[in-house]
Symmetry: D2
Amino acid sequence: MGLPLTEEAIASHNAPRHEALADEYDSLGRALARRGVDIAAVKAKVAGFSVALPSWGSGVGGTRFAKFPIPGEPTNIHEKLEDCAVVQQLSRATPRVSPHFPWDFVDDYDGLRQEAAALGLGFDAVNSNTFQDQPGQPRSYRHGSLTSTDAGVRAQAVEHNIECIEIGRKLGSQALTVWVGDGTNFPGQQSLGASLDRYLDSAADIYAALPGDWRMLLEHKMFEPAFYSTVISDWGSSILAAQELGPKAQCLVDLGHHAPNVNIEQIVARLHRFGKLGGFHFNDSKYGDDDLDSGSINPHQLFLVFNELVEAELNPRQGFNPAYMIDQSHNVTDPIESMLSSAEAIVGAYAKALLVDREALTAAQQSNDVMMGFQALRQAYRTDVTPILAMARAEAGGAIDAIAAYRASGWRERKAQQRKPVGLGAGIV
Amino acid sequence: MGLPLTEEAIASHNAPRHEALADEYDSLGRALARRGVDIAAVKAKVAGFSVALPSWGSGVGGTRFAKFPIPGEPTNIHEKLEDCAVVQQLSRATPRVSPHFPWDFVDDYDGLRQEAAALGLGFDAVNSNTFQDQPGQPRSYRHGSLTSTDAGVRAQAVEHNIECIEIGRKLGSQALTVWVGDGTNFPGQQSLGASLDRYLDSAADIYAALPGDWRMLLEHKMFEPAFYSTVISDWGSSILAAQELGPKAQCLVDLGHHAPNVNIEQIVARLHRFGKLGGFHFNDSKYGDDDLDSGSINPHQLFLVFNELVEAELNPRQGFNPAYMIDQSHNVTDPIESMLSSAEAIVGAYAKALLVDREALTAAQQSNDVMMGFQALRQAYRTDVTPILAMARAEAGGAIDAIAAYRASGWRERKAQQRKPVGLGAGIV
Amino acid sequence: MGLPLTEEAIASHNAPRHEALADEYDSLGRALARRGVDIAAVKAKVAGFSVALPSWGSGVGGTRFAKFPIPGEPTNIHEKLEDCAVVQQLSRATPRVSPHFPWDFVDDYDGLRQEAAALGLGFDAVNSNTFQDQPGQPRSYRHGSLTSTDAGVRAQAVEHNIECIEIGRKLGSQALTVWVGDGTNFPGQQSLGASLDRYLDSAADIYAALPGDWRMLLEHKMFEPAFYSTVISDWGSSILAAQELGPKAQCLVDLGHHAPNVNIEQIVARLHRFGKLGGFHFNDSKYGDDDLDSGSINPHQLFLVFNELVEAELNPRQGFNPAYMIDQSHNVTDPIESMLSSAEAIVGAYAKALLVDREALTAAQQSNDVMMGFQALRQAYRTDVTPILAMARAEAGGAIDAIAAYRASGWRERKAQQRKPVGLGAGIV
Amino acid sequence: MGLPLTEEAIASHNAPRHEALADEYDSLGRALARRGVDIAAVKAKVAGFSVALPSWGSGVGGTRFAKFPIPGEPTNIHEKLEDCAVVQQLSRATPRVSPHFPWDFVDDYDGLRQEAAALGLGFDAVNSNTFQDQPGQPRSYRHGSLTSTDAGVRAQAVEHNIECIEIGRKLGSQALTVWVGDGTNFPGQQSLGASLDRYLDSAADIYAALPGDWRMLLEHKMFEPAFYSTVISDWGSSILAAQELGPKAQCLVDLGHHAPNVNIEQIVARLHRFGKLGGFHFNDSKYGDDDLDSGSINPHQLFLVFNELVEAELNPRQGFNPAYMIDQSHNVTDPIESMLSSAEAIVGAYAKALLVDREALTAAQQSNDVMMGFQALRQAYRTDVTPILAMARAEAGGAIDAIAAYRASGWRERKAQQRKPVGLGAGIV
């Protein structure tokens, strides 16, 4: 057992593309040099950037109306790791996988860790799941999990989270991401105050079980699956909860979990200002939690978010160490292609944020030269950083054109022969 | 086989409630008389109002994340009809059921029609389903149905709609409701212009198969399951399509299928103005297509919609004959209770709209007496019409307090013994 | 100089309405008694409730496109107080006025306090204004006030707020409401982090000048006049700022200052949970900060907000003493009529919240009886509390039908003869 | 009297920038050639593209809260034309000005036309104004203009529009843009049906006065200044009105006049599909009708809109001849700089749309290769077209870096000495 793709395949894919890339990289280098930017330094930062893949993201996703599976989809964590390894081999930006339990339960976690390592992968934050009932589960989450009025349900949900921490330790993770769908569909269904009290109590029990070097990442979401109220619905609720829990609790931002029109980059700046920016789930959306491919709908917003992240990196205040993960639902594409495309979009947004002339930006801001403040960002945004990304990938053994290389590999067709088919249905799993 | 509940059970439930109801009805009658309103006339209009039940609404619904079934849920059209019959017996406002195919396929539709009739039910508009793949289906709707680039897929989808018409004729329906989820998740995925052209071609093929006394109701939806574009996303697309198809094509408004903040009652007025107001799917929502119980979130909006409907009834222009249906996803309640509560909310909104002093309203509007125009609506809205609804129900053999009567009947507990359990999963079916 | 309207005028207006009111009040009393509710106790609570009027709300408001003045509008604080006194005489629910500076600057504040007292009015929270430039003002707020990069501008804005506190002390106020429009129209215009730092510094300077028994109310707003970012844009930013400032800083909720679809009643519960619920600006809206009449668009939301306020009153946790004010822009109505109508809507929402059977509600919530939890609220909401409000007003010397009494008084026509006309223009002042 | 800037000034600004531009243009040319695209052909299309400037856009705008004027703002149509000429000299993309009446009333329109011509400018669509009252105006638009219940008000509004047509003929315009703010702030204020009837009647009277070669452009807007309902609130209302009026009536899309989340590019496709796409008002927005600089918030959306426009140009169906105009409120920038920046953003979006490999796009769409359909657009979008725009400008006598050239010219400082100052206030004028 080794890496899914051969180095030779990637190299031979790259070979006919090197000359054009070199020209475009050099041309960009000259243009950037005229702005006082060293392209090699930017490329080095880009090469050091990574984002985790969600294990479940390698499968085809669905809506409440339907799921349309494709032949060759992975059906267990082993196959999911394989597909993530393909993404990492080609993109060189996704060296870690974020598991989800109970979906990824196995008997031997040490073995799983080794299996991943052999595929060139490590493990990122562990995700717990108390928004679904599992066959044979003693108590139902129909009316909530960490916030349930039933102490037994709360205990079961806490226990599951602690189990996730235990598994995560074996896998080499250092963070637990807690998202609960707990909330209501009717005014009056629950006490809005008391349900938060119960959430905080349950979360404190989980927090108490965190190893010393772990973080607990609280993920807020405006709505869905609850459609009237959600207990941790916004960044305000999230940060107040994180404050109550303690320094190891931080907030995780999913780009699709906000009210319409909200300025998400300012939320990033706020969380950083108050020391609670813990991580990101990257995706894009137009209407709600659409879980579309990162940067496919509003790439400028993604850039503005990274602009704040680079600002935070330069001004760490109380520290800056966010956990980055792709979190998308790939309903109509091959998930590997979507993850390749999304990784490129995310790294590209980071690269553009690196190009911002921060001296000019700060000077314009200080003197209220509104137009020049804006132009400092715009100049960076409109730069085509594709050559930097491609060169960084190629130098690290990845593909110049990742999707083309993937298609050329015949991976999915091969797997369609080997893997068992996924049935019809609906939903995310 | 007869009605699910006995007349005696309902009567004995009502007996101890009659005196209080009489006092409240008489008190309201005096108050209305002071406004020049005859309560008996309002009650008579209320008694003549009805709204269809969706067959699928009698089952527990879910989100893409999970479904939490309850014991005693119906698992086939026969059981669904039984549950709808309970709603009708208690509410006296829901005498028709709207079927959905292929979910409600049976071998013998004449038999099904008789079965329904024995339960006191008829059939309303037929709903086709080309947003899901069915086991064994020759071609997939993964990339669209009526709008597919594949002529074979389009033909299959058209064929299914025509089959629905055929079934509907046997069941006594006179309308086909066509909702397609067709759309895209990515810019560039489809040609926005060409996909509408294909939709119109396919819809014309269905239209051509309509019997002379049938209508085809086009249902628009902003998003979900498609998250970048949807072919019939708004009332503008819907009415233009209906215009192209012909006089038997009309538009159906689902209250949850609009952009945030949109003035839905004005859309109702517009559709009526241009002769294309065909029907309603009632529900409520706070965020998206939440499919919550009618009137649970924004009862004032429901009233304002009915205010336009009463206006339309009084000024029929090119005719006024809308098809009304409840369309909700009952995720955390007993569906029968939600349908009882929703029927009351819908009828109540109609009753309040009937109470508007239209002479005063029109006079205020003509003279730009803004405050009095508003107060004419507000006076009607704040009136508690509960006694009118309860009296109308009681006089028709229904329950004064429908939910209490249902609970007293022990229906669900009995069915939990008799019906086979529903498995875990996600989604709407 | 005395009260604007005579007691006789109000009494003679009420006389022919008493009999109908008595019947409706008694009828409702019987119905409530059957639910175990004592109508007299509810009436007593209602009689004890009050909401402040904004001085500027007595003038006609406008949009950026236009203002359409009416004859007889007030043009200075003295005339504004007169109009507010009319509202208070008729509604008996608005005994205080909230002034706005520099709009309401006078030479003699002791005299102004006596003038108000003679009109039956006191003063509520003082509002500062650093979102406009005034003629002759040394420095411009074009690029911000409390957040300006220019220390001189910040000092000027802080100074103005301290002056407002000084004036407020003379007027008998105990709170300063601080709303700043500071923000940006372009990405890059300002540092999102640094501008908050500057805000916190400036606000701390104001906080330091607060008398011991005063509160500083921070008012957040999503957008307008800034259209890309606003420094205190949401309740999260507001509560974190209030935490930094200290115990006398609390958050003020304006119902129109939120993102679309946001659950405002949950924000109320959150602010209360964390001890920072300071006050409300009541109005209604459909699209943005529309500043429409309270309860005119979404009266159910207003009820749900009051449901949380009554919950908070019953469970004061760290105290509960919110400042209530109407904050509306009366663009197309007579402002006195709108304030009368709005006061009734606000008091009515409070009355309905008092009617909620909290024992039943809590029991349903504890046992996850979702439908009964909802019905506990719904039963209260659908009750027509008009007779309670009217009886409470009449007993306190107010009008049974406040708008009708106002119209009968000929107040505006009289003032149209006496007051100087307001010119054309745009905007709020 | 001649052009505001000298050719020499622009040429000397360009001189030191030519070498870098040549390198970047050539580099891009090689990259595009590898994609099969001829950069010279794209540049030629770009050079042929133009967008009109709004006369009022040359002044500083404001909100309802405040306006912050700058020294040297234009205060009449003559000064506005001068400023627009500066924009045109530098950008070479804005050769026409769109006037607004009564704001731009003069005594001699033939003279005005000559004055503009001498400045290198022509006139575009004429804008009428019935959303404000003017001093001395016989009847008020407080309660509506074209939709007023008062026949005299409607006649006055119709008359004004016809006067605008007359003036436009003298100025060389061929279109009248009709935007009305008519609507309501309260449910019940007006009959939603009857107000549309009145609008259609009034609009027909205006339509009847159109010269044979003119168009009437109907501009819809969701809200503001009316905050409950607006008579032409969406594209559905707009196109149905245009259909009723006749072939010379078309729809105009302002990018900020839509509900949150709406897919505007699909609306463009729909209007084109049904032969009614008449024109655009370009700006950008995050929350409502923010009137921010084009492309400053969501440049990807602007690209997607132009993608549809290029599609329409290639597939003209019933013709394609849209009127393009910038429509922004420059609250915190020098309006000339904002118009220069916006013109570049608009032309740049067009250039990127031209780069789309339409053969690849269509092939992907036909075969449901979702990822490749998306990538066809994405490849074009991420291309930095700055060198093409700059080269086209330079070749036409404009500036390589338009804002830098403007700043170097000292135009505003000079005008600040010459023009009379603008007073404080609020609003758009």
